[in-house]
Amino acid sequence: MRRHELVVAVVVVLILSGCSTGQRVDLGDAASGTLVAAIAGEPDQLDPQKTSAHFSFEILENVFDTLVEPDENLEMRPALAKSWDISDDQLTWTFHLRTGVTFQDGSPFSANDVVYSYRRIIDQQLAPAYRFNAVTDISAPDPATVVIRVKQPTPNLLVDIGGFKGMAIVQRKNVESGAIATHPIGTGPFAFKSATSGDSISLVANKNYWGPAPVVSGVTFRFIPEASTALSALQAGEIDWTDSVPTQRVDELRGDDSITLGVTPSNDYWYQALNEARKPWNDVRVRQAVAYGIDRQAIVQATSYGTAVANQLAIPKGNPWYVDYQRYSRNLETAKTLLGQAGVKDLTMDLLATSDYPETVTAAQIVTDNLAPLGITAKIRTVDFATWLDEQNNGHFDMLMMGWLGNIDPNDFYYAQHHTGGKSNAQKFSNPQVDALLDAGRIETNREKRLDDYTKAATIIADQVSYLYLYNPSVIQAWNKRLSGYDVRRDGAVRFGTAKLN
């Protein structure tokens, strides 16, 4: 072909392809009717009981089930268990399982799988193990029944075993072969199909799902780290759903007719924490100085552009366990006085942020600016999330910022993070009064007394600056008009089982 003929051909193709804007791009999935979802990062692994990454759970939410699960109002409803009884002394819970349920590889599901899954968490002391603290025995008297015995009345047991997918029921073979980390097998509406490192993970509909079979033929989760890229892809029809919506664009997006924006207050919360295993942060006066030094409003505005609600405790407004607490505001005089009392000056601070959560980098810069007049020089260290987790768990930081995903029961908001030796107590906070209150609140069945316990505990936690609570963000997701049968949930769980593509 001569050169100019080639040019003409290319131009024609360009024009033709340019005319098809707004068209879906098939990523090579043979089946049409695949939902394409964009998330901001790649899962570190796919074992629901071991991973703690938000990205992993977004995908695993659709692959696994728990015995019970929260509905749209975050009330617990049957899932793998179709009903349950509690003994009169409140110490024995009997769960009656659905029959005829199979794992995605066809093997049958039974009570033994439940026992295996829970025992695995307890015996290996995996991350969700603390949720079984009150449990003394788990057994399967027959293939359709699971009996859980607790040592004291446990009002929030249902939330403990079903509130999030860390308590997913896994398959013994899948775990023992080690395949679960990369090829998980569960009982949920979608089965794992394939993964392309750095690009996407594909799920395919589970025709034998115990609930209503999914309408879409599969879901592909694409990893698009840049939020603005994901959003542009959504507007162009490249993808159907994304949750990486830059907060600064929410206002603009509300007016965009081509997409549906889902915004709902969530139970998530963002906080900052000071490492009490290191001097001088072990001195409460120094911590309080920091609490009086930072400009919360600026942080909230710069990270959420008005979509979040500032909060100095964890539990959000609208949640029945909410407590109003307003002690701290930016006051440099008070801060300096406290530092003087503690006898410290000219401090340096190792401020840990992660590039996978840009709000931490933004806030870190504001904090650096805020603390400078107090003689505290903060040095920001930005690492990827996996490294961040490592540094946090090894106590290699002075201050960090992170968020916890939505919880339902007040115990989940405070216990693991603030009880002495709690699994998520990386800041090494230890206060016997708080311990006593948290322990009491756990087993208290009287609602008023319980609220009182948690109010007192939360107040001490904030007074002692175990966490510097910042705000409750909203769950913000966006999807295109083709997608129906889906809505945002307060706990941020992403469930495509009922989604439909028109």
Partner: protein
């Protein structure tokens, strides 16, 4: 081709007659001056956070507008000039001294030393620039020192090749042979004959390498692996601007423009000088240099 002192001065004057070269020299002078005085002339602190004034378009109060934290972009671009130029200058200086030394030694001594040194240089040439710099930064962790080292190492081979080529062309000249027979010390020969001769092509290369060092540092900082926040850097500013391109075009335009203009000025200057010295230099070697 030998260019002695008198010709060189005339060459510079000739070079500056070219309007493009003159303009780029002036622009560079302005940029360098701005970089050196940045701390004093910047209207706002580089990390002066002012969230209520975030994302303001360019105005009288903020020449280049403000970013997502309310910081003045003009001040950040000025101080960023200091940071970027410092990295570029330091890394090119490293590459210059190490590369020219290697090249002159290899070209002058010849023999097996030349062969070994040139093979080492060839190995370094086998890696694309950004890739090797990335790998070095990966191993040593990001930061300004690592960035300078990485870019310096990666640009050493080109200086070595240029210096060696010029050294070789002079070494075979008769007057050098005569000097050696007369027993003149090597150092003297180097000083009087070799170095003046390699000066021009090496100077040209310096200007070109400065242009690419600016671009390389910007790329590394853009990827988050160069200068770390809160140190302002043009590349990093572009990275931060990505989430706001639609909302605040000034966040991406001005830092990018700064990188572009600086690199362009260095390139035009280098090209202008080279045109004067040897208009016929359009060889394979030249094409390979432009990385």
């Amino acid at each position: 081709m030998t260019v002695d002192t008198y010709d060189r001065r005339a060459s510079w004057r000739l070079a500056l007659r070219n309007p493009l070269t003159l303009i780029s020299a002036v622009i560079l002078a302005v940029i360098v001056l701005a970089a050196l005085t940045a701390d004093r002339i910047a209207p706002y602190g580089v990390n002066k956070i002012d969230v209520p004034n975030a994302l303001q378009p360019p105005s009288g109060a903020h020449l280049f507008g403000t970013d997502e934290l309310g910081r003045d972009i003009f001040s950040r671009v000025l101080v960023g000039a200091h940071a970027s130029l410092e990295v570029a200058a330091a890394s090119v200086t490293f590459a210059f001294f190490v590369g020219v030394t290697l090249g002159v030694v290899a070209g002058y001594r010849g023999g097996w030393l030349d062969m070994v040194l040139m093979r080492v240089i060839d190995v370094m040439f086998a890696f694309p620039v950004l890739l090797l710099a990335l790998a070095i930064v990966a191993v040593l962790s990001p930061g300004s020192t690592t960035t300078i080292l990485a870019i310096g190492i990666v640009y050493t081979p080109i200086f070595a090749r240029v210096a060696r080529a010029s050294t070789l062309s002079v070494r075979i000249e008769p007057f050098v042979a005569v000097s050696r027979t007369l027993g003149t010390g090597n150092v003297l020969i180097l000083r009087r004959h070799i170095l003046p001769n390699i000066a021009s092509p090496v100077i040209v290369q310096t200007s070109l390498s400065l242009a690419f060092a600016i671009l390389s540092e910007a790329a590394l900082s853009f990827l988050g692996l160069g200068l770390q926040p809160p140190e302002p850097s043009w590349g990093r500013m572009l990275f931060d601007a990505q989430g706001f391109v639609h909302l605040a075009w000034w966040m991406s335009v001005f830092p990018g423009l700064a990188i572009f203009v600086t690199a362009l000025a260095f390139n035009l200057l280098g090209d202008g000088v080279r045109d004067v010295l040897d208009p016929k230099q359009r060889t394979l070697l030249d094409a390979r240099r432009k990385r």
